[in-house]
């Protein structure tokens, strides 16, 4: 009898294994494999002309310590921090106000926010090119109202890159703040007010704490990509602002120093993982599910 029962159980396990195997196989071969190879690659030596030599070295990591590359990392982090701060400042109120709308308006707003999010990011960038271009829309507008006498030539400048990134990443922040504000128990705020907290104090002591998971999700979804969105810096910055993403791309596609690109990627990956670890610490979530 026991045997039969075990057989039933085993059959169930077998069925689950069949269901899981495609994902696990695919994940192991096409995800874990490449990641492991990246790590291996980062310790190999670059061949004289093209390719890789199987010779163990730390040189790739040491090379990151050269001022040029350290500076690139620093610039990338600075830009990512700036972008993230702006995204929080603009996106948090937006998501917050959105969640406080009537259910019908909320649905409409949600639609309005998701549509650009789904739209080709290149198309949206292109719109900014038209706006920022020398003698483009913005220049004409500003000269029209006599705010400036000559074209600002904003395209291919740092502010243009910042605007492009903030614009591209804002929906992530709005949506994650929105979803956590929407779930909030407002009686907590009422209780705080009842206990004598002013609106500002109640916001910082209760609302902000309750919506921290959403805010942190937004921060991750903003900070992680903004370290590496090379094509925005490329298109709006005209390759004048070297970001870590651009360096990796150049090392891969132009210089063909794959081991060095791998080492840069490993460092970038470590920084990302650290962010996610901090996210889990702050939100107390053991699951990454909150991240979408």
């Amino acid at each position: 009898m026991k045997n039969k029962m075990n057989r039933l159980k085993r059959r169930e396990h077998g069925a689950n294994a069949v269901l899981l195997s495609p994902m696990y196989l695919f994940t192991i071969v096409f995800l874990i494999g490449p990641f492991v190879y990246m790590i291996v690659l980062s310790f190999l030596t670059r061949a004289e002309t093209w390719g890789v030599v199987n010779e163990f070295t730390f040189r790739n990591y040491l090379k990151i310590l050269e001022p040029t590359y350290l500076n690139t990392f620093w610039e990338s982090i600075k830009l990512a921090l700036l972008v993230t701060a702006l995204v929080i400042l603009i996106g948090y109120p937006f998501g917050y106000y959105m969640a406080k709308l009537s259910p019908k308006n909320r649905g409409v707003m949600l639609m309005l926010v998701t549509i650009p999010f789904w739209t080709s990011s290149l198309m949206r960038l292109y719109g900014w090119i038209i706006i920022f271009r020398a003698n483009g829309l913005l220049d004409k507008l500003l000269m029209g109202i006599k705010l400036t006498g000559e074209p600002l030539k904003l395209l291919y400048t740092y502010p243009a890159v910042v605007v492009g990134m903030v614009y591209g990443l804002l929906p992530f922040m709005i949506l994650s703040v929105y979803s956590s504000v929407e779930k909030m128990d407002w009686t907590l705020v009422e209780a705080a007010r009842d206990l004598g907290a002013g609106p500002v104090k109640a916001f910082f002591t209760v609302t902000l704490k309750c919506t921290m998971p959403g805010l942190m999700t937004g921060v991750i979804l903003t900070f992680v990509p903004s370290m590496a969105l090379f094509f925005i810096a490329d298109i709006l910055g005209g390759n004048k602002i070297p970001l870590i993403g651009n360096v990796i791309q150049d090392q891969l596609m132009k210089v063909h120093d794959w081991p060095f690109a791998a080492a840069l990627s490993v460092i970038l990956m470590l920084m990302t993982t650290l962010m996610i670890f901090l996210y889990r610490k702050v939100t107390g979530s053991s699951d990454t599910e909150g991240i979408i």
Binding site: M1, K4, M5, L8
Partner: protein, 357 residues
């Protein structure tokens, strides 16, 4: 027993380290209405799931129509379940829901349609075939769930607190209807509830469950009037349990308790004098005495009124609390009054003391 339709033999079940069932045995006859009564976590739902096959027992046997089905998968068992939340398939209309079991069996379409129509008539919702479950009220969904189960003509119908989600009035109505259905279909019902009133009014037999064990299995009157132990006594009809010592006075068997004595129905084997005994007395049988008569002294603690009964809480000299109840809305006692009470000996039965568990 030739008409035994379902038999459970010493069923045991553990979840991780938690022993949920510790040797459950039960025999159900054709057409019997058996209720598993107990508070949540007593193992009643697990028992039901082991009968239906949704859970497998660690040891013991489930015999259905004389066949051992202990290791059979649920779809091969001729029993059906009414789930607590009804579990009506939300993406199928009522007709498809009810006809699902027959469709699985490969019955022809016209035959299924006819059976669905009949089942809907049986639960008094004729013509509801094309409704979706989410367009119906709780009571209606309950009836659809019943129709979906009985249309398969199961030998045993398992009902997991089927009325739990309904309001009181609808509950009463559905109780009557379920009983009527059960009588007319002649199907064995295994019914789960934590409501002792529901159990007493509907069942042929009740199994009172606690900590994965049947405390007592018997007819409603056996359970109510002759509780086997203090748990059954206090859970069913919330009787007072008095823990005192055996006493024989003037040839009468009595209990010495809280500074007084009262008569007790003598059991077959009289305990020795001075032996500890537990006696169950229902609140409505607690009688107040005139001053000077022999009884147990107490102080009235409070009076409250609910569901047509006046409830009088008494504090005894040893600190215990006893409840007396009366029909009507008032009684000439006030909190703080010193009283004495006793009871007729036929209403005071000795029970096994189980409360240390």
């Amino acid at each position: 027993m030739s008409d035994a339709i379902l038999e459970l033999r010493d069923i045991r079940k553990k979840f991780k380290d938690n022993e949920v069932l510790r040797g459950i045995s039960l025999t159900a006859r054709q057409g019997e209405f058996i209720t598993l009564l107990g508070s949540s976590g007593c193992g009643k739902t697990t028992t039901l799931r082991i009968i239906s096959g949704l859970e497998t027992a660690d040891s013991g046997q489930v015999i259905l129509e004389g066949k051992d089905v202990t290791d059979e998968v649920p779809e091969k068992r001729n029993v059906n379940t009414i789930f607590q939340n009804y579990a009506l398939f939300p993406h199928m209309n009522v007709g498809a829901n009810i006809g699902y079991g027959l469709r699985i069996k490969g019955k022809k379409k016209p035959e299924i349609r006819e059976a669905v129509r009949e089942a809907l008539e049986l639960v008094q919702l004729p013509g509801y075939e094309n409704r979706m479950p989410n367009e119906m009220s709780g009571g209606q969904r309950q009836r659809i769930a019943i129709a979906r189960a009985v249309v398969n003509e199961p030998k045993v119908l398992l009902l997991d607190e089927p009325l739990g989600a309904l309001d009181l009035q609808l509950r009463r109505q559905m109780q009557i209807e379920l009983k009527r259905l059960q009588k007319s279909l002649g199907i064995t019902f295994i019914y789960i509830t934590h409501d002792q009133e529901e159990a007493l009014s509907m069942s042929d037999r009740i199994a009172v469950m606690k900590n994965g064990v049947f405390q007592q299995v018997g007819t409603p009157s056996e359970i109510y009037d002759h509780p086997k132990n203090s748990y059954v006594a206090s859970f069913v009809g919330s009787a007072n349990v008095l823990r005192g010592k055996a006493l024989i006075k003037d040839g009468e068997f009595r209990i010495a308790y809280a500074g007084g004595t009262a008569p007790v129905a003598p059991p077959a084997h009289l305990p020795e004098e001075g032996a500890p005994i537990a006696v169950a007395v229902r609140s409505e049988y607690v009688d107040f005495l005139e001053a000077g008569e022999e009884g147990i002294p107490a102080v009235v603690k409070e009076k409250s009124f609910s569901a047509g009964m006046l409830r009088i809480a008494l504090t005894l000299d040893n600190g215990d609390e006893i409840v007396a109840s009366r029909h009507g809305i008032d009684f000439s006692l006030a909190p703080g009054d010193r009283v004495a009470f006793t009871f007729a000996k036929e209403h005071a039965v000795i029970v096994e003391d189980k409360d240390e568990e």
